[in-house]
């Protein structure tokens, strides 16, 4: 076997750092020591594109302007459930400046007979029906308002609990079928059979199915907590909306996209338009946020392409804020009942979870796997049901399901600790087997000064302070289909290329750091060209996979390129290339300290104009937990919240969050802190502010804007202190992982626990508003 054995740092510096021997493929680069001994990795390296961003020089998708480009606007339904009887586009067509109108129609396969009708059925208000391309966005909008859609309206249902009723209007009326995993179908929480809007349950995940025997587990329990928790529908609201510019040339389709996944958009467009993947190029240089909703070409991508095809011109199609709220994804709501049993000594004996959620016209409203894996418990079962409603579809939202799940679980654990008369933090020491969270609790508690915490509701005065804690876990996902190309040019330039996009978190910068560290060059010497599907395929920016997937091949490709360069130098110096190294921009020799050659001079030794090496993500050292790329260990976090609650007005203010996180080997502390800050702010927002308000009578979203859909602004953002725990797992050539999702999971639970600590009454539903606080305090009926 072409392997070698090497000793890697393993564990947490300052806690249990040791070494572990791993057998790794021979072509892997030599081990990196801990960050203290590295030059640019783990340091506060300024974003390489910071200046472009803050000066406005950075070009986002909506900034793209091409010769002859048209502007498109989508036609959307304004009723929640209907059959379309006709669409009259005659007035819109004749509006000066309108170049094309494309309506979404059912296309029958050859010879197929069905009753589907000419147009798709309308299942929610805001559903895309077509689009207009015109010389300006204003003309396109005017044209849309001139299109007359005739509907035959049908009964609809918006509210999740109304949709679960036996006589509820049915969203999808095809028969319900038995689930693959044998789960019962359509059973609602009270045991009755839902007639069609309730689907499920899902009882298993990649962490397995039910464990043990719940009944036995609850029999063994001395203490049981049983509660129902509710979370709201939360829309994504990235600053940059969804959108594309499609330039469909005779030889290829060029798609400028605001996307988290250039590769997925490329594959989708190729499949939809029956083009070879090589004829579709997707490009995303700068990205204004996505939070999980931008993994797809959506409906706007194909619409822009169809309009480009009809007009032979490039088409710009960016959604507006209202469309963004309504039609391009949300975090589904949840109603979760959770029952947890423990012995007197605190040992968990059983966890039972049952949830219902609605992702509108879609499935996928589960509450994640956090109750299944955060704390070991021999007896566990979950049943997660989907409830279909006439509302916009959900999409992945920063740790799908788990944010909802953590809100329930981490409050229940708190309540259990109180029943057992144990401090909630100490209780987690008892039941949580994660070493990294143990360190996070210790260091976090010290920074936060957890010892200040008083008994729940014991504060005097109108404004009461409360402290709370919440924990999370997130698997280390790796996308094996992750590749980069590293080029060393004969003018001394170094370039890295991949289709991986920088969602805004600083992927470009960490790639430059990895290449710079390996080549002994300054970060500024590295050119990063990514977000282009003409380059090697990179991962999507989701699942917190990017850092763990793309930095090892980036290092490996650099290492290969470096070896090739050093061979040229070795030849000139008549020595062995294994004796050579690059440090501070100079090639040097271990044997002869007098030998020096500037990097740029070394590149002049090439016979060709460049050295180019491509590497793909290798398997994890020591193997995967699951063979398809689920890594060992977890990205644990512990967050502490301090709140003030005004018991007269009901206003809650989050004063402080301490967020303790781990992500393997941290690559760039500044960027990690920034990403954690973002996750925490979204968590504060989820706990206190954001809420999609739908009118159940008309099926419209009432706050589809930035004015009434409340996100926190500067005054609402608490003091945030981040604490990053270095944790070496010896799993890849960089041993680094992402932090995107973990940063957002525990915050709302920590805040809810802090609110309880402040007022002594538990709030089981978010967002926590003045109304819910005053109701909890019996000041409003």
């Amino acid at each position: 076997m072409d392997t070698r054995k090497e000793k890697f740092p393993h564990g947490i510096p300052g806690h249990n750092l040791t070494e572990i021997e791993r057998e790794i493929p021979i072509e892997e680069p030599p081990v990196w020591p801990v960050n203290d001994e590295l030059k640019v990795i783990g340091k506060r390296v300024t974003r390489i594109d910071a200046l472009e961003k803050v000066t406005g020089k950075a070009k986002y998708t909506s900034d793209i302007k091409l010769p002859g480009m048209l502007y498109a606007k989508m036609l959307r339904s304004n009723v929640p459930h209907a059959v379309i009887t006709s669409i009259d586009i005659s007035k819109a067509e004749s509006l000066p400046g309108v170049h094309a109108i494309h309506l979404i129609e059912n296309v029958r396969k050859e010879g197929e007979e069905n009753n589907n009708g000419k147009y798709p059925m309308v299942k929610y208000a805001g559903q895309p029906l077509g689009g207009v391309a015109a010389e300006s966005l204003e003309i396109a909008k005017d044209a849309i308002s001139l299109i007359k859609v005739n509907y035959e309206e049908k009964p609809f249902v918006i509210d999740i609990e109304a949709a679960m009723e036996l006589n509820a209007p049915i969203v999808f009326d095809e028969p319900i079928t038995q689930q693959e995993d044998g789960g019962d179908v359509g059973e609602t929480h009270d045991g009755s059979k839902g007639e069609g809007n309730v689907r499920g349950p899902s009882t298993s995940s990649f962490f397995g199915g039910p464990r043990g025997d719940l009944e036995e587990g609850f029999k063994e329990a001395d203490v049981i907590v049983e509660r129902t928790y509710r979370t709201q529908v939360h829309t994504h609201m990235p600053l940059e909306t969804h959108g594309v510019v499609v330039d469909w040339n005779p030889d290829h389709m060029m798609v400028y996209a605001s996307t988290q996944n250039t590769n997925a958009v490329r594959n989708e467009m190729a499949s939809i338009f029956n083009l070879p993947k090589s004829k579709v190029r997707v490009f995303c240089d700068f990205m204004g946020g996505g939070f999980g909703a931008k993994h797809s070409a959506g409906s706007f991508g194909p619409m822009a392409a169809n309009l480009a095809k009809k007009t032979g011109r490039p088409v710009w199609l960016m959604l507006d804020r209202q469309e963004e709220h309504i039609a391009e994804g949300n975090r589904p709501n949840s109603i979760q009942s959770l029952k947890i049993g423990a012995r007197k000594d605190g040992t968990l004996t059983a966890i039972q979870q049952r949830s219902h959620g609605t992702a509108g016209v879609n499935l996928g409203a589960g509450v994640g796997r956090i109750a299944q894996i955060l704390y070991p418990c021999p007896n566990f079962a979950t049943e997660q049901y989907d409830v279909l409603t006439n509302a916009g579809p959900g999409a992945a939202w920063r740790a799908p399901g788990n944010v909802q799940g953590a809100f329930g679980l981490e409050q229940a654990i708190d309540e259990l600790a109180e029943k057992l008369e144990i401090d909630p933090l100490k209780y987690r020491d008892l039941i949580d087997k994660s070493e990294v969270r143990k360190v996070e609790r210790q260091r976090g508690a010290k920074l936060f000064d957890w010892s200040r915490r008083q008994a729940a509701g014991s504060g005097k005065g109108v404004v009461k302070k409360g402290l709370g804690v919440g924990q999370s876990t997130w698997p280390r996902f790796v996308t094996l289909d992750s590749s980069v190309e590293v080029k060393i040019h004969n003018d001394g330039g170094v370039e890295i290329r991949s289709s991986v996009q920088d969602i805004g978190t600083g992927t470009k910068t960490i790639l430059a750091q990895v290449v710079a560290e390996e080549l002994g060059l300054p970060v500024a010497a590295i050119t990063v060209n990514i977000g282009d599907t003409f380059f090697p395929v990179g991962p999507g920016s989701g699942g917190s996979v990017v850092t763990g997937s793309i930095t090892p091949p980036a290092r490996n490709a650099t290492y290969e390129a470096k070896k090739a360069l050093l061979k040229l130098v070795a030849k000139k110096w008549e020595t062995d290339s294994s004796e050579l190294f690059i440090e501070d921009g100079q090639v040097g020799s271990k044997k002869d300290a007098g030998l020096k050659m500037p990097f740029k001079e070394a590149t002049k030794l090439m016979r060709t104009s460049q050295i180019s090496k491509i590497a793909s993500r290798s398997n994890d050292y020591g193997g995967f937990q699951q063979p398809w790329g689920l890594a060992y260990g977890d990205l644990g976090s512990v967050q502490f919240a301090e709140v003030s609650v005004n018991t007269d007005t009901g206003f809650v203010r989050v004063d402080k969050i301490v967020a303790a996180h781990s992500c393997g080997r941290p690559l760039n502390l500044g960027q990690l802190e920034s990403q954690i800050n973002g996750g925490v702010i979204q968590g504060v927002s989820y706990a206190l502010y954001e809420n999609r308000v739908m009118d159940n009578g008309t099926g419209h979203m009432m706050n589809a804007n930035v004015d009434q859909y409340k996100v926190p602004f500067s005054m609402e953002i608490p003091e945030i202190e981040t604490l990053i725990v270095e944790e070496y797992g010896a799993r890849s050539s960089t041993d680094a992982y992402g932090i995107g999702e973990p940063a957002n999971i525990a915050t709302a639970a920590a805040i809810a626990n802090a609110v309880y600590n402040a007022i002594g009454v538990r709030i089981y539903e978010i967002p926590i508003t003045p109304s819910s606080i005053l109701k909890a305090l019996n000041k409003v009926s």
Binding site: V107, S299, G366, L388, G629
Partner: protein, 77 residues
């Protein structure tokens, strides 16, 4: 569900997951089957959560036998 390996049902070519865990298409390694309760499915043919037959999109339903089903192999390029 067999958890030792992702399922390999012959799911429709046009089914995608709007989740980010990894490779989100069908084919040999259809991640979208792994965590169905948290996976949001999408039909790229109808560009929505509803199939061309006005029915629900999901890995459990977008299979052979459905009128709009197109197999992975039906590559017409």
């Amino acid at each position: 569900m067999d958890n030792s390996k992702p399922g390999n049902l012959s799911i429709c070519k046009f089914l995608r997951a709007r989740n980010p865990y990894g490779m989100m298409e069908g084919g040999e390694d259809p991640w979208l089957l792994l965590d169905d309760a948290n996976t949001i499915s999408w039909c790229i043919n109808s560009a929505g959560a509803m199939g061309p037959d006005n029915g629900l999109v999901s890995p459990m339903e977008c299979k052979k036998g459905r009128s709009c089903f197109v197999s992975q192999q039906a590559d017409t390029i």
